[in-house]
């Protein structure tokens, strides 16, 4: 089993501390596979709650995967991210991230998901 990336594990705490996010995500149901190099986890956003789980169990499915090196997530979370790491689609456009899977739940809740994935920005 791969250890859960530390930064991803902070997402639920940061999510719960942000008063508008549970409201904005109240109708979202999406499971994302987040990869930072070899480390991976599943981020589950269901009905206004956010949980992080392992991704190595049998039949641990997901809707959409975001795969990048640890460095691109680190850059994404810098207080002033560089132009090639400021947005998930920008990271894809610059060849630093692969986004694949079922895009429908992502596009239905795109902004709140982007905001969740950027929560660690400037926390370091």
């Amino acid at each position: 089993m791969t250890d859960m990336p530390a930064d991803f594990s902070q997402l639920p705490v940061l999510f719960d501390a942000h008063p508008s996010l549970p409201r904005r995500a109240a109708r979202a149901r999406i499971t994302m596979l987040l990869c930072a190099g070899a480390a991976r986890c599943r981020l589950m956003l269901h009905d206004g709650t956010l949980k992080v789980g392992n991704a190595e169990g049998p039949m641990d499915g997901w809707d959409i995967a975001l795969r990048g090196d640890a460095s691109v997530w680190g850059d994404h979370w810098r207080r002033m991210p560089p132009p090639d790491a400021a947005d998930i689609f920008g990271m894809s456009r610059h060849g630093r991230m692969v986004i694949e899977g079922n895009f429908l739940p992502l596009m239905r809740h795109l902004q709140v998901i982007k905001d969740i994935l950027a929560l660690p920005r400037g926390q370091a």
């Binding site: 132009p83 920008g90 895009f103 429908l104 239905r108 902004q111 982007k114």
Partner: protein, 289 residues
Amino acid sequence: MSAKFDPILGRYLRLDIGGRAHRIYVEEAGSGLPLLCLHTAGADARQYRGLMLDEAITSRFRVIAFDMPWHGKSSPPEGYQDEEYRLSTQAYVDTILAVCDGLELERPAVQGCSIGGRIVLQLAADHPDRFSALIGAQGAAWQAPWYHTDWLHRPDVHGGEVCAGLISGLIAPGGPEADRHETLWHYMQGGPGIFKGDLWFYRVDGDLRETIARIDTSRCPLWLLTGEYDFSCRPADTLATARAIAGCEAVVMERLGHFPMSENYAQFTAYLHPVLEQIAVNTPDPSAL
């Protein structure tokens, strides 16, 4: 805070475009050389409020911005319910020229952003004598697509929210939060399928890589300005276009993205003011003639 009006005048202009009657919403501020501003795809003329409130500009320029047909307060033409909106290169040029004629603008300068930054290249190629100067922000002759436009208009995804969610990544981080969110609000308010219809020009009908060979900047000067955080019209796209046009000046703007005039106007002025200064110095004021 006491109530006060912004020094901006908004009116409706009735005119024909492509043989159809339209009622176009036009805002303006200032006096002097006319500076016609073209908004981005899926948005409206509110993006130019910063320019219209900038006395350094309005003291020398008559800043004019209009909502394209189907956008903002310019309702679609009669019969719209039976057609799909698609912006073509020709329709876009016809609209700009019709507004210039309707307002009786004598060789205005034009500043456009995104699709507006692209269309100024067409104006430079085909109508250089009708304009005193052209500025394309986030403009390039062509750039590769980075998402499928079908996501912008489908019944199972909220159109306004997905339009804003997609373009939010094109705004540079670190700018004023209020301006970022107002820029997004403009996208949330677009009509169904309108952003997608604008992108028909951007993605299908508006490949200007051959057109730019006809541009003669000695007849009409041309500037291209692109934000470093724009991954849609990337700095490399703009610089490649500028290299193909003799005499075209290109600048990559720091800490700005795809919406420089609305996402962080104060930062934009560092790049816009010097260009407008050159235009003001080199262009006679029509009111002084």
